[in-house]
């Protein structure tokens, strides 16, 4: 979560807010934030740290592991219409890549801003060419995009 907190200003600039969820109590959240996370990131966690003690939220999102009684490492990008545009679920030992999360947010925002008139090809980064889906692009993608 410290890795997300370190990029929070960037996320806020993109109009994104964060909610984090684990099975820990709000009291444990406070202890973790105050005694460890504040030593990793100035100010600690600036968003709602939610408690899902029975795993009910995690079950709905498909991230609650019944065997261990904890949530897997899950990440969902939800647009302003409340639609889940992207999801990533990992077992606990591997951490997140915020560069990729932010890249996906920027890509979904571009698609939304263009009303779906533009799509982003594989490996797309902000500023790179997009694709304009339509009949004239069929069989012609090679002219405008290829893997680098």
């Amino acid at each position: 979560m410290a890795a997300v907190a370190a990029r929070y200003d960037e996320l806020q600039a993109l109009g994104v807010d964060v909610i984090s969820v684990s099975v820990d109590s709000i009291f444990t959240h406070k202890m973790w934030n105050d005694h460890e996370l504040t030593k990793m990131v100035d100010g600690g966690i600036p968003w709602m740290m939610a408690t899902d003690s029975a795993g009910n939220v995690g079950k709905v999102y498909g991230v609650y592991d019944e065997d261990s009684g904890v949530e897997l490492r899950g990440r969902f990008i939800i647009d302003p219409d409340g639609v889940i545009q992207a999801a990533e679920i990992m077992t606990p030992p591997v951490g997140r890549n915020l560069d990729e999360t932010i890249r996906q947010i920027q890509a979904f925002q571009l698609v939304r801003e263009t009303g779906g008139a533009e799509a982003t090809p594989a490996e797309w980064q902000p500023g790179k060419p997009t694709l304009k889906p339509g009949p004239e692009l069929v069989g012609q993608v090679w002219k405008v995009w290829k893997p680098e």
Partner: protein, 49 residues
């Protein structure tokens, strides 16, 4: 039970929460009204990764 699916509406939920020194509560639908939301689950406080 409604389950979360990519491309479909995110199931709403409410939960107790801690934020910047205060015990409070969070409702996903309040966030959706304001913009984009990054919803992150993790195995537990004080875990290593």
């Amino acid at each position: 039970m409604i389950t979360a699916k990519v491309g479909k509406a995110a199931p709403d939920f409410g939960a107790p929460a801690y934020k910047e020194g205060a015990f409070t509560s969070v409702q996903l639908s309040d966030y959706v009204k304001k913009g984009w939301t990054l919803l992150c689950f993790y195995p537990g406080d004080f875990t290593y990764v």
